[in-house]
């Protein structure tokens, strides 16, 4: 696991964070459920909670789907290529490429240029919390994902990294660390 330079993290007093979706995206409930699941994967292992709020402007974490140049100096590049990005704490910005074909439920297939939304959401939340990229291929924080794969469970590498920053959730029993990746991992992804 790794951290951003100077190891930024949310202040110790900020253990209950809110998140909101860009209103213009008109995100459906089925998609919101995916993000809720993704947040829980992290709150299961650290003493933090994440609650959706309707107030985008005041939310700690702001999630939006954008196409191309969207004003943060990191333009998206259309189908595949870069899928999403998020900024280090405490910025709370999570942006996803609106041109991608996102699969909401279940494993995608290498037969299509589509990407599993939850896999990317879990990864980007790791950045929001302060984790950088990992060289451990099974880790959520590994930078690439093939179109046919679904990687949503935190690996021990992810858990060690995030608990180094925030400590352990008192209810964490150490049973959620994954060592395998679901779905097809053999595809090139393009």
């Amino acid at each position: 696991y790794s951290f951003f330079p100077n190891m930024p993290r949310w202040p110790p007093s900020r253990t209950d964070l809110t998140y909101a979706f860009l209103p213009a995206n008109q995100i459906e409930d089925s998609v919101k459920v995916v993000f809720a699941r993704a947040f829980v994967r992290w709150s299961d292992v650290i003493p933090m909670t994440f609650t959706e709020t309707a107030s985008f402007s005041t939310a700690d974490i702001r999630i939006g789907f954008f196409s191309g140049d969207h004003g943060d100096g990191e333009p998206f590049d259309g189908v595949l290529g870069t899928l999403a990005h998020a900024f280090s704490p405490p910025s709370g910005l999570l942006h996803l490429d609106g041109d991608e074909n996102w699969v909401v439920n279940g494993s995608p297939s290498t037969a299509y240029a589509a990407v599993d939304l939850e896999s990317v959401a879990v990864h980007e939340i790791g950045h929001l919390l302060g984790l950088g990229h990992s060289s451990v291929e099974e880790a959520i924080m590994y930078p690439t994902i093939s179109t046919g794969s679904r990687r949503v469970e935190l690996a021990s590498d992810d858990i060690q990294g995030i608990q180094y920053l925030y400590g352990s959730n008192p209810n964490y029993n150490g049973s959620t660390a994954a060592t395998t990746q679901e779905g097809d991992t053999s595809g090139s992804g393009s």
């Binding site: 330079p5 990005h85 996102w102 240029a113 690439t144």
Partner: protein, 128 residues
């Protein structure tokens, strides 16, 4: 574009019908240091975007397979557990074109991925 599951994806979205952002990079497979190849500057910008080539090195974004590109490839190969050849071999290219997170692997010249944990490689990363 949201699809509830894989069966809802239209057949038009098969990968061969989609020109992904980095599909054209496959044409650079087999390139090695010292060559000059049309379009290689675009691949350099890819490495620049993810932190492997210094952002200030804009003058290096030519089609020349120069030292900066070779070092970038070596660092990338270390980070992704590939054989460190410094060349655009098939396994490296297969990895480069994969969809990925837009956050850089190397920030301010240093990486906490594999390459930053090996002293000899850290020196190269900082040099960029």
């Amino acid at each position: 574009h949201f699809f509830p599951n894989v069966s809802a994806i239209p057949p038009s979205l098969i990968p061969n019908a989609i020109e992904g952002a980095w599909t054209s990079f496959q044409n650079f497979t087999g390139c090695h240091p010292g060559q000059k190849v049309d379009g290689l500057a675009k691949l350099k910008r890819y490495f620049q975007y993810f932190g492997y080539i210094n952002n200030n090195a804009s003058t290096n974004c030519t089609d020349d397979f120069d030292d900066a590109l070779e070092e970038a490839i070596k660092t990338y190969q270390l980070n992704f557990n590939l054989n460190v050849t410094g060349e655009l071999d098939a396994p490296t290219m297969e990895h480069i074109v994969r969809p990925r997170c837009g956050v850089a692997d190397v920030i301010n010249g240093t990486s906490s991925m594999n390459s930053g944990k090996r002293p000899e490689s850290h020196i190269h990363a900082v040099a960029h």
